[in-house]
């Protein structure tokens, strides 16, 4: 089976999701090639999430810790959600970009899929 990946710059993802950058303005040149969407952090920890984009509706500090532990490249909060400032600050210290999109989980995923991003396992 042949997998292919289309990389996106984080800046292009911000544009595609009409998103607001909460932290990591200086890290938007980062390349992202896979994407996972879940409110279950264990799924992210169990998946091939290194360097991926994580879309979630959760805004707890454990999202940031999960992302750091799993090596996630950036986090998108859907439905216009934004975590508390101390959570944003923690991500900032760890150079983990956080962005917030006004779109729902479904629409956010659809937009990124249309941009050729694949799932964590490379499928699309």
């Amino acid at each position: 089976m042949v997998f292919w990946t289309e990389q996106m710059k984080l800046s292009q993802i911000v544009e595609a999701l009409n998103a607001k950058v909460l932290t990591g303005d200086d890290l938007l040149q980062k390349d992202i090639d896979t994407c996972g969407a879940s409110d279950l952090m264990s799924n992210i920890l169990a998946g091939l999430s290194e360097g991926s984009l994580l879309l979630t509706g959760l805004t707890t500090v454990q999202v940031i810790r999960t992302a750091m532990i799993a090596g996630v490249g950036a986090v998108v909060f859907v439905r216009g959600k934004s975590p508390p400032q101390e959570v944003i600050d923690l991500a900032g210290e760890q150079e983990l970009p956080l962005i917030s999109s006004p779109y729902s989980m479904f629409v956010s995923c659809g937009r990124l899929h249309a941009c050729n991003l694949t799932g964590l396992d490379g499928r699309r």
Binding site: L45, T60, Q62, T66, I69
Partner: protein
């Protein structure tokens, strides 16, 4: 020969700080230039274990010992213990509360994910006697070494 030992306290039900020990270990191992995949596996096991202690256990600790060929991790707590360890090892089995699920945990994936990421894992627990999870990670020499 054990080159380095570290131990961190884990406070039961402290959901805000849960995971701090694993982040510290991850940072330490990265700074020592261990293989990134090894670091990731160790960090994931530590974090899942920490979350288990915070969600289900009593106060506890997370300890690592880095040797020449192996990294040993031990996570223990003095909580209520696991009634049926075999069941707890099954993916999807969970005694977690809605509060845990709202944080993105409690889907019965913790111990199975730890087993998957560790090279060896032993769970010792009895009802009322607390829990001790011991893991071994092989530090491969050659191209895989740090």
């Amino acid at each position: 020969m054990t080159a380095l030992k570290k131990s961190y306290y884990i406070k039961s039900r402290d959901f805000i700080r849960a995971g701090e020990a694993s982040i510290k270990i991850q940072t330490l191992l990265k700074s020592l230039n261990y293989n990134p995949q090894l670091v990731r596996r160790v960090a994931i096991c530590g974090y899942e274990g920490e979350m288990n202690v915070v969600m289900h256990g009593g106060d506890g600790s997370l300890s690592i010992a880095i040797n020449t060929d192996t990294l040993n991790m031990e996570i223990s707590d003095d909580g209520p213990g696991i009634v049926d360890v075999e069941k707890a090892m099954q993916t999807g089995f969970s005694t977690a509360s809605d509060e845990h699920r709202k944080m993105g945990f409690g889907a019965g994936m913790g111990l199975p994910n730890m087993k998957k990421n560790a090279d060896d894992l032993i769970v010792e627990s009895e009802k009322g006697q607390g829990t001790r999870v011991r893991m071994v990670f092989f530090i491969h020499q050659g191209s895989d070494a740090g």
